[in-house]
């Protein structure tokens, strides 16, 4: 699998000359864990939506294994800040939903359902209604639903942003484990330097106004990574400074206008 992003530009709206994203170029290889890091409002989520095919770019193109992306598809599953599970279905039926759409056989569905719900440790909760789950459990079900579809890329739009600190820590560990087990390619959008450092093979810094690739930073800290390690702290300092520059830029512009 390889994802090739070439000259993606997206305007604020049709008739505007301000760009949300400007000339984004990026290549992503199989099995990579990439974080798109940037201040809020820099267009990183928009880029993820364009990769998902949910939003059209104004120019440029994205190819997945040589094929141009023009619409959403189950080879690129997106996860959101909210779990987006369907409240009218139970946990099990939510996880089956995508597999049914994909036309998998009943046996295959059962197999994957068990495998991935066990992977996120929620197999026991398969008959629950969605509103009976905590925020963290919902995100785990959403992850299982995505994994069942055996997509080429998992796109995650700040998937932990609505959760509490403890839950975030647990889920980060789980996600890393699952990534190592499944060898999925993951692109995760975040505004948290810590999160990006914890996950990434490479961090793509997106600058703001307009959203451009400001820097691509390869992170070689060995796994499992610890937030307290010296390497971690050093890189974090540098990244925080770079991020602050961008945040300041946004603030300045907001004051000016």
């Amino acid at each position: 699998m390889s994802l090739h992003i070439e000259g993606i530009t997206k305007k604020f709206d049709k008739n505007s000359d301000t760009n949300i994203l400007e000339d984004i170029n990026l290549d992503i290889e199989s099995g990579e864990f990439i974080c798109l890091l940037g201040p809020s409002g820099c267009g990183k989520s928009t880029l993820l939506n364009i990769i998902a095919g949910l939003v059209d770019a104004d120019s440029g193109k994205i190819t997945l294994d040589g094929e141009e992306i023009t619409k959403p598809g189950s080879d690129r599953i997106m996860m959101f800040q909210e779990s987006a599970l369907f409240p009218w279905l139970t946990v099990e039926k939510n996880v089956r939903f995508g597999m049914k759409i994909a036309g998998l056989s009943k046996e295959e569905q059962d197999k994957r359902l068990e495998k991935y719900l066990k992977m996120v440790q929620l197999y026991k909760f398969r008959d629950y209604n969605i509103h009976e789950l905590s925020g963290g459990m919902k995100q785990r079900v959403a992850l299982a639903r995505a994994l069942c579809l055996d997509c080429k890329i998992l796109l995650m739009d700040e998937p932990f942003a609505a959760l509490d600190k403890q839950t975030i820590n647990v889920l980060r560990e789980e996600l890393i484990n699952i990534w190592q087990q499944t060898k999925k390619t993951i692109i995760l959008v975040t505004h948290s330097v810590e999160e990006a450092l914890f996950f990434s093979n490479r961090i793509v810094m997106i600058g703001s106004h307009p959203g451009k690739v400001k820097d691509i930073i390869k992170i070689d800290i060995p796994r499992p990574r610890h937030i307290e390690s010296v390497e971690f702290i050093n890189i974090r300092k540098k990244l925080l400074e770079a991020l602050k520059e961008e945040v300041d830029k946004i603030e300045k512009e907001e004051h000016d206008s």
């Binding site: 095919g53 997106m78 959101f80 987006a84 369907f86 009218w88 759409i101 994909a102 209604n129 509103h131």
Partner: protein, 271 residues
């Protein structure tokens, strides 16, 4: 256990309240009609008179217009009218939600027409369909189809866009999006729409039956005053109309609505 005893308590308290109302009614009747003679007895019903009429009408050797036949005729008409309203309302609501042109131009007109009480359609109904079954059903349809259409449109419009995005990323087709995501997601609002549509239909039916004089509850009600001058019978029929309307609203629609809301986790903030 605790839950059960509170429901029993609630029911008892409600029955008690109804007894109080009936007692007050009897008191007012006795004072106003029999003791002070303020009102003529044929203008004020009495609890006892209504009860006697009830026993009388529901007994099988009643010689007048059968109450059973009237209830059956009214209910049948209501169901036919309501069923057609649901179909028309669903199609119209879907089209309005789908096409911006209709959303902007047709919707305001429908909202306007909706302010017209359905009984105002009776003249048209009689001219077009005569004093016939279909005239009554026509009045029911104009009375409830538009409100259902508005509810369908609202339901579809208010589906959380996140569900739609999530479904699209899993690769659903356009028809799957409607049948597997949008309709289920809108279900609580759709049921609420059916419920209000039903109550419009029931009201429209009674008005139409009184004016068009088809066999039915509305017609018995009107005849009880104009032909028989029997105020107790008028009251009894009114009570029957209330009871049937309430039973259908409670037993079917409210239960259904609550079950769905519970499953969706929408009633957690209540109470």
């Amino acid at each position: 256990m605790k839950k059960k005893s509170t429901t029993v308590k609630k029911i008892l308290s409600r029955i008690g309240f109804i007894i109080i109302i009936i007692a007050l009614w009897e008191l007012v009747y006795l004072l106003g009609v029999e003791v002070l003679g303020l009102w003529k007895s044929y203008t004020i019903p009495s609890p006892q008179g209504v009860w006697e009429r009830c026993v009388d009408m529901f007994s099988f050797d009643y010689t007048g217009m059968s109450i059973y036949a009237a209830v059956a005729a009214s209910l049948l008409r209501a169901f036919i009218g309501f069923a057609i309203s649901v179909v028309i309302g669903a199609v119209l609501g879907f089209l309005i939600s789908k096409f911006k042109y209709l959303q902007e131009n047709l919707k305001p007109i429908i909202l306007g027409i909706q302010t017209l009480p359905s009984v105002c359609w009776v003249p048209f109904a009689i001219l077009w369909f005569g004093l016939d079954q279909s005239a009554v059903i026509f009045v029911i349809i104009v009375g409830s189809a538009f409100s259902i259409a508005m509810a369908v449109d609202n339901g579809i419009q208010n589906v959380d866009p996140l569900y739609i995005r999530a479904a699209k990323t899993m690769g659903v087709s356009q028809s799957q999006l409607y049948f597997k995501v949008i309709i289920p997601a809108a279900q609580p609002m759709l049921i609420a729409g059916l419920k209000s549509g039903w109550s419009f239909a029931w009201r429209a039916l009674m008005a139409a039956e009184m004016m068009i004089s088809m066999i039915g509850l509305g017609q018995i009600l009107d005849a009880a005053r104009s032909i028989e001058s029997d105020i107790n019978k008028v009251t009894l029929i009114m009570l029957i109309i209330i009871v049937i309307g309430t039973i259908i609203d409670r037993v079917i629609f409210t239960n259904w609505e609550n079950a769905v809301r519970r499953r969706y986790g929408l009633d957690r903030d209540r109470k």
